[in-house]
Amino acid sequence: MPLSKLMPLLLAVLAWSWSLSAAARAQEVENFVLDNGMEVVVIPDRRAPVVTHMVWYKAGSADEPVGQSGIAHFLEHLLFKGTRNHAAGEFGAAVSAIGGNENAFTTADQTAYHQTVSPDALETVMRFEADRMRNLVLTDEVIAPERDVILEERRSRIENSPDALLAEEVQATLFQHHPYRIPVIGWMHEMKELDLKDAQSFYDSFYAPNNAVLVVAGDVDAQAVRALARRTYGAIPRGPDLPPRDRPEEPEQNTARSVSLSDPRVGVPSFSRNWVVPSYTTAESGEAEALDLLSEVLGGGLQSRIHRELVVKQGIAASAGAYFEGTTLDDTSFSVYGAPRGKATLEQVEKAVDAEIRKIQRDGVTSEELERAKTRFVRAMIFARDSASGLANIYGSTLTTGGTVADVAAWPDRIRAVTPEQVRAVAQKYLDPERSVSAYLLPPDAEDPSEAQAAPQAAVPEPPMPTPAAPVDGPADMPAVNEGQ
């Protein structure tokens, strides 16, 4: 459903009555589409002389050709090389010459390039970003050392970390058919073979204005951004229509599976249990909101049932919780996790987490705890307005996974509409141990629970669990230099 061309939709977002009415002043977001099909979102925030500029492509690792895992992320690195109009490094030099910063990241569903600069530099940044959308020049000389860089990146992020190695196996086991089973950074043996032809082909397939979303947030005037966008991105011809993003669907899952990794670097064991569940894009009405609230009530922080029961009351867990990543194009994952403390065993922690899930499946959640969870979510949206770059991320990730600006605006209302019965229903429907993947990260001499137990239990190690959408950051990943101020 393309938005009508150049017809601005001025959206009065966040008309939250409710107890937070006074706090929820309307936020104006401008949303329009250029003639060449590029969607634009402008979020003015005039508090500080800073603007965040992002271009999101609807192309991620799950859109890669079979056998070329990692090409989306590799191409993201290569976009920092030269174009027909600018030598490698010119764009970066222009950004740093005004003190700005820039980077990029790749997820399973999108690739995004972003800069934070002073408002005067916005046009310069837009010219450079528009230039590299179609004018990249790739050569074997450029490709070879950068491929070594991504291999080192994989060693740093994955091979050097038992947590990350196991998380990769969880994804590969949880998704039996869908490309979310493949790591965003790629499998090492395929990354080594990625070449110029692969990169050029991915670039030509996906990098076009009609497959991109521009988000500008910060100290800008929406009309000025519109004029700039027309002059810069608007000059790029529309590309061929892209085929629908129909990835292979998961078959029905009917088994409990488990993966385990014993590693001498592991000092304390941990587990996770994971399920395939719908995302905001694929869910039936209200189910994704209910899963979000389920993860919050079950294991979303200090107020959650898992924390209060396992960490505080029973005192058996050092950490434990639940996690749901809802903003993905296809079905996503829901996870619970935990690690023991003191004399408690991993098995105790695992059983106690299971018991909390069963309690909700049997008795549901109370309306009081649900209301509190809702309040926290809506409050988080108000706090999010404090950061222009944070807002830019919310809009960009939503718009590249099938959502709209109106969906962002309606989210608080949709959260408020969830009933306790809906939360219980998604817990019953989706958190079935007989079709889960359990993961165990173990010290070298530990007994493997996946062999000792008949029914698998699941899990991954520490909170921010790798999910299909876990981004792989772009080229510049260096220690921050703190001026001490």
Partner: protein, 439 residues
């Protein structure tokens, strides 16, 4: 096209640099409460929030001998019960007030912060007052938090990077408190009791070592009352133990053998303190050498030209009692020797020749503009910046003065500082599999 673009760019960028320097949108007021509590305030009503950040000078360097980890443990317990409220009741009250509250211990200060919806500010600040003045340190949360920290230590016990970092801190800082583990050890945590937390709290939190920054929907008069309510009943002066100057121990070669796919390299050179007249000369030089704002020399040689690493960088660490310049990277185990030699060569060239005039001009523009972009993006960020500026005693007009200070640094200054810092024999540590090519 390149030739045409350049002059245009220069014009645009010159204008931008001029505009970005003073960060004009931010007006800092100094507020002093009737009881003498001082704060810097940026009033901003565009978002219905109030963010407060504060710091009590001291921090983990104040941990008594054999009770390492005390400051960290205490900071983890401010939201675990206060006044008449138990841990659970307190956390529920914070949640109901629509606030987020956090505390942490750094080497030189205990930090705290709160972010609240403006309409529930009074209730939120009530809870902060309780946390700061009347933390309970009850037995149950004490045992729980200590158990969590011990589990964290156990998790790190076999982690080569965590162990290497311990060894690095010890080698670098010798017998200075900076060498001690901030979160403590199994033995030191076992010696700490709730009574230790009570007496440490009484000695560390006072009005004269307190620094406060506030941003958001609150005016100066209202803030005065709130400052007295939250902090006004603290003792006037803390009981701080003296901490001596810290000199990084250079010239050591350390090797941590571990069978990993990648080797990590660390190098330490002398640093420069924040109040040294040469601070910005050193800062600019380190940015050119290995900063994150531009294609630094290390980035270009190690990553761009040779693909030896995903990340390489240099940074200047300035602490209250000691400073150090550090370089770090990770590379394939079989390329550790080559990479280390390359880094040393890049350092040697910087020491001998210094930067070029073009490099210095470019980095000055970057460092000038980066302040607003890195520090003013959110009200919490601005509040943290207000605390940092006061910690470093830089003055309320610092944001206006900063661009001129940077501009005044000469190429000769930077060359001299590069020579002074980078001709020292560094301490080097390589963590990774045994290879022929060590340091």
């Amino acid at each position: 096209m390149r030739a045409i673009l350049k002059p245009i760019l220069l014009i645009v960028l010159f204008a931008a640099a001029a505009a970005a320097g003073p960060a004009g949108a931010v007006t800092i007021q100094e507020v002093v409460s009737p009881k003498g509590v001082r704060a810097w305030l940026v009033e901003d009503r565009s978002v219905p929030l109030v963010s407060m950040r504060f710091a009590f000078k001291g921090g983990s360097t104040q941990d008594p001998e054999s009770k390492e980890g005390l400051a960290t443990l205490m900071s983890s317990m401010f939201d675990e019960g206060a006044g008449a409220l138990s841990s659970e009741a307190f956390q529920m009250a914070v949640d109901e007030a629509g606030a987020e509250m956090g505390f942490s211990a750094g080497p030189d200060a205990i930090h705290g912060g709160i972010r609240t919806l403006a309409e529930t500010r009074e209730k939120s600040f009530d809870l902060l007052r309780l946390a700061v003045n009347e933390p309970r340190f009850d037995a149950e949360p004490f045992e729980r938090i200590r158990g969590q920290i011990l589990a964290g230590l156990a998790a790190q016990a076999n982690d080569p990077e965590a162990q290497a970092q311990r060894r690095w801190d010890e080698a670098l800082w010798g017998d200075h408190p900076y060498a001690r583990p901030e979160i403590g050890t199994e033995a030191s945590l076992a010696r700490i009791s709730p009574a230790d937390l009570q007496s440490f709290h009484a000695g560390q939190l006072a009005r004269s070592n307190l620094i406060v920054g506030v941003v958001g929907a609150i005016d100066a008069e209202t803030l005065k009352g709130e400052l007295d309510r939250i902090f006004g009943d603290l003792p006037e002066k803390p009981e701080l133990r003296p901490v001596g100057p810290a000199e990084p121990q250079l010239g050591q070669e350390l090797r941590v053998a571990y069978d990993l796919p990648q080797a990590t390299l660390r190098l330490a050179y002398p640093g420069v303190s924040r109040d040294d007249p040469d601070f910005f000369a050193a800062h600019l030089m380190v940015e050119i050498l290995g900063g994150d704002g531009m294609a630094s020399r290390l980035f270009t040689e190690v990553r761009e030209k040779r693909g030896l690493s995903y990340g390489v960088g240099a940074s200047l660490s300035t602490r209250e009692h000691g400073d150090v310049l550090q370089i770090g990277t990770a590379t394939s185990a079989d390329k550790a020797g080559e990479t280390l030699a390359l880094i040393k060569d890049v350092v040697r060239r910087m020491a001998e020749e210094g930067p070029t005039a073009e490099e210095l001009d470019a980095v000055k523009r970057f460092v000038t503009g980066a302040f607003a972009i890195n520090n003013l993006g959110s009200s919490s960020g601005v509040a943290a910046t207000l605390v940092d500026l006061q910690m470093q005693e830089l003055g309320r007009d610092y944001m206006e003065r900063r661009a001129a200070i940077i501009d005044a640094v000469t190429l000769e200054d930077v060359k001299r500082v590069a020579r002074e810092l980078l001709t020292a024999q560094p301490t080097v540590m390589v963590v990774g599999p045994e290879t022929k090519a060590g340091p």
